[in-house]
Symmetry: C2
Subunit: 600 residues, 2 copies
């Protein structure tokens, strides 16, 4: 168990058994994948992570990226990581074969990144943003743009970044003011400032391809006037060389965590840029990538929580302290000290972490499964999978972020005073995970998206589809007597979702959107908990079926652990939903019309 940061058995169990990889593998786009290739790829990623990622996570924190003389320098190990990752196909994974990609199923892709992020959460952003930027070019760019950039990006010779945020606008992208002026040769002159640009500059690639939101001169105000441009750090000359394109690295943001992952302040000064797709459609292009980025962010949170879980588990197995209570309620001081893992409260903190980590991972793979299904189906079926993914996306981003923080904090608590010491890694994970609820739209913004848009998609039909998915899980669970009470609890919670939304709807119908959405964040907590409860019931049912069938894929203890952790989740977490539902349905408004002077 030493130096463990994730459990490959659980990942494979989730992919193949819980989320039915057989429905995906070998089908259409995924013709070249079968169970063996999936498992071999995961083994390779794990091996790479063991050797090249995990051993460097603490050093990347202690020797963070830094800005000097107009450029950002990142940890030397990244040179090897980028090369190895590209060779493993981790940037090209998701692309079409015709664009040089591997057409990998999302389930496998996300599982692979999850392993890397559990090993080292400072790494995947460099790869993921390169893939994401290249994906914008592949999806919406001209053949010329594709020919110029894709191959070099997919091999990680060039990396990519997404330049959205500006100092005055933050999350409010309608307020972007960067400008794009047409030139005679069909390109644009880009001017403006972008902040919080992850992976915006580093020394181990020959070029950095920025995907930049800006306004073409004379474009309409608001979101409808925002266009997307490719702006390379270095312009490609006629002879194929590279020349400076006036993309200035103006500084770096020193952060609480993820300190090996650089965050830059970029200034574009008459930089040459090329329009991607049509003018004024930049935000809609960007938002089509947003689902992917949001799932990736949640996945990163789950990965960090996984690493923290195994670090605290290892400590609990090794640290003797105190004694078990005797039947007289006294400590037996004559005996040896016991390992702290034998204290019920420590077991509770560890089980809590396991419940959050594996529940989150299962949700991420559930969302990935819908993504894969969407890619191999047509018509109404495709629409249904796409809509389910849309609905689950804000939850998949937020649950691992918010509950992951709690989970890591419990991991730190297991170590007592040592948890607070820089020599132990829990304090780093505690810092690293704090960004996850902020990246790619804060929890508040995800919650507005969930309650304000997703829950009512297609007039509530999508929510009904999700309900049907949960009902299918419930029906499976009802076949196992031991799971029946939990299936009933999930049924009750589905009713509670209806009741809660029903109570809010009159506010939306009468146009009182501020009050309708005032407790959206509480709704996210409520709804997210039920979604994870569904995932746990699914895992427990799969485990119960495997045991009933005498499956020897995993040990009996492995399956029983899933059922046990499901029970833990229902006892300690699902028990919160009634109280949360009451908060949401309570008509007392304490925020919308509050006097600001009350905050003093």
């Amino acid at each position: 168990m030493a130096n463990q940061y994730t459990n490959l058995d659980t990942i494979k169990f989730l992919i193949h058994q819980v989320h039915h990889s057989e429905a995906i593998l070998g089908k259409k786009r995924f013709a070249s994948y079968d169970k063996t290739t999936v498992d071999m790829f995961l083994d390779s990623v794990k091996d790479f992570s063991d050797k090249d990622l995990f051993p460097y996570i603490k050093d990347m924190d202690e020797k963070p990226s830094f800005y000097a003389d107009g450029k950002i320098t990142i940890h030397p190990q990244f040179e090897k990581i980028f090369k190895q990752a590209a060779e493993l196909g981790l940037v090209a994974a998701f692309f079409n074969e015709e664009d040089g990609g591997l057409q990998m199923p999302g389930t496998l892709f996300h599982a692979a990144y999850y392993i890397m992020e559990a090993a080292n959460n400072h790494t995947s952003g460099y790869l993921g943003l390169t893939a994401g930027s290249a994906n914008l070019i592949a999806s919406f760019g001209s053949d010329e743009l594709k020919a110029t950039y894709l191959e070099k990006m997919l091999s990680m010779e060039w990396s990519g970044s997404m330049c959205l945020t500006e100092p005055q606008a933050g999350s409010s992208l309608s307020d972007i003011v960067s400008t794009a002026s047409p030139t005679e040769n069909g390109s644009y002159r880009i001017n403006g400032q972008k902040i919080f640009i992850s992976s915006g500059d580093q020394q181990f690639v020959d070029n950095i391809i920025h995907l930049v939101l800006a306004r073409v001169d004379g474009a309409p105000a608001g979101t409808k006037g925002v266009s997307l441009f490719v702006v390379p750090k270095k312009r490609i000359t006629l002879d194929g060389g590279l020349e400076d394109n006036h993309v200035i690295t103006a500084g770096e943001f020193e952060k609480l965590g993820q300190r090996g992952y650089c965050t830059s302040h970029l200034v574009f000064e008459e930089s040459e840029g090329w329009l991607v797709g049509e003018a004024n459609r930049g935000l809609s292009y960007m938002f089509q990538m947003m689902n992917e980025a949001r799932i990736a962010t949640g996945r990163m949170g789950a990965g960090i929580a996984s690493a923290a879980y195994y670090a605290s588990l290892e400590y609990a197995h090794e640290r003797p302290q105190g004694r078990k209570l005797t039947s007289a309620g006294k400590k037996d001081i004559g005996s040896e000290q016991t390992l702290i893992i034998n204290h019920p409260d420590v077991k509770r903190m560890l089980l809590f972490q396991k419940a959050i980590v594996e529940g989150s991972l299962s949700l991420i793979l559930q969302a990935s499964h819908y993504l894969d299904q969407e890619m191999i189906t047509e018509g109404e079926e495709k629409e249904r999978y796409n809509a389910l993914l849309e609905l689950l996306t804000p939850v998949t981003k937020t649950y691992p972020a918010e509950k992951g923080m709690e989970s890591v904090s419990q991991g730190l608590q297991v170590l007592g005073g040592y948890g607070f010491c820089m020599d132990f890694i829990l304090q780093q994970y505690y810092r690293d995970i704090r960004i996850i609820s902020i990246y790619e739209g804060t929890t508040g913004i995800q919650s507005l998206d969930l309650l304000g848009r997703k829950v009512m998609l297609k007039n509530g039909k999508v929510l009904e589809w999700l309900g049907a998915e949960m009902q299918a899980t419930i029906a499976g669970a009802m076949k196992h007597e031991a799971l029946t009470p939990y299936a009933q609890q999930l049924t009750m919670n589905l009713g509670l979702v209806q009741q809660t939304i029903g109570a809010l709807m009159p506010l939306a119908q009468k146009g009182d959107f501020e009050r309708f959405l005032a407790d959206a964040t509480t709704f996210m907590d409520f709804f997210g908990t039920i979604v994870i409860g569904w995932q746990w019931l699914k895992m427990a049912t799969t485990a119960a079926e495997a045991m009933a069938n005498g499956s020897a894929d995993y040990s009996t203890e492995f399956y029983q652990a899933k059922i046990h952790t499901m029970k833990f989740f229902y006892k300690y977490e699902m028990s919160r939903t009634r109280g949360l539902s009451k908060v949401i349905m309570d008509e007392l408004d304490l925020t919308v019309d509050m006097e600001l002077s009350y905050l003093d």
Copy 2:
């Protein structure tokens, strides 16, 4: 509001109106204190904190204490701080006049320290540990020890530390192995290692007086063989000089937060020590100081949360971003951006912080009030106040620690991406407060104390006394129509406490203490929430009475804010108690008898 870290009006309102300072001031031990002297002292401490503490909090984090060449160096500002604090009487505050103290009421003392800690949480430990160590000497030491140490400590010429923890023992003090061998002159030779020693070494005092737990040769095993010694860093020679006493500073623990507050590793090598009180009673002496230290720790957590609240409030008042929702549920992009404080979700995050911060502070002052009452009453009355303090102590330590973390995290969230940046102070408070649930007994240990000992003190009579105190608050609230629903909720919750404890008792009665205590931490969350609900009802009732009486002590908005925040606490926090109670009463055991192999 700029650079605000606490609200002096709220502190005075709590001391005088909510917690009835008139019952204390001028009485017996506190004869020389009246409302005017209290307010003047608080004003002085605030002024000192404004000038000498708050401006240095970030610099102390960025230039932390460090170990080199056998000694620890702390931030230069501490030289001035120690001098000023001693002049203000902040070390001598609590001592008897005959020992050179000020006989200050605990309410005032804790309020003063709370102000200092909100301004700068790296400071008070140096002062508080000096006072605490001196208090052990004053309470249990010989006249000779008192004559030697008290005056110099109360003036902060010498500082103090408490040396409990050893590497192999951690929280398990029965496993202490440091030794004490009698010498011919009545002193002892002390040998052993102590870790996590706060304030264990620094450059701004002439001597450091360590209060050390060790075993006299041949002492019984376990807690009954632990004695308390005074071991000065420098021994006092016959001519009144100071000579080295072989107390070696072996290193410092580099910490996640409170980096200006040093944490040392000390080695005693044949150091000369003097027994305090009787041999083998060291732990009982130490535990008599523990209530004080635990309340101080909770207070520090509340102070950090207060500072974070005002920092995030200031940001929310200044940062424009996004727009209010129009009745069509769309953003009105033609308008100027709004300040984020106008977004309901931001108001929710700010009100949450206010509810936690002021609720915690009120509990701290409630506990202090019982402490003061205990000191001026006799017989059964004294016993009652002492017992109420005992019962509330683990809650007063834990609630501000655990909910303070959530509160600071919400403060960080208000700042979005900037909250994660080192330029803003929220990230520091997020790190600083993480230790509070670990210091002076972790949350797990406090919870065992609460459920395993305190709730059943005097066969449950003490819990009844606390119930009676809450009933008195409820009776007051029932006189105000607007408060009636909340008074009823608190009544319901009192019933829930009885019901929950009643459901657990059979486990204790049949000697199954492990199961009885398995969910002690959940019980702490449950019980602590209700205790804070009581405090909020008390504050709201006081505010309602003041408005009804036309009191002009504070503005109507000030009073209304208290009632509003009470409502917030009941809606968002008291709504959790039913679910928590269900968890505790659920008989399903998932931890005590769990297979360890389930954690993999």
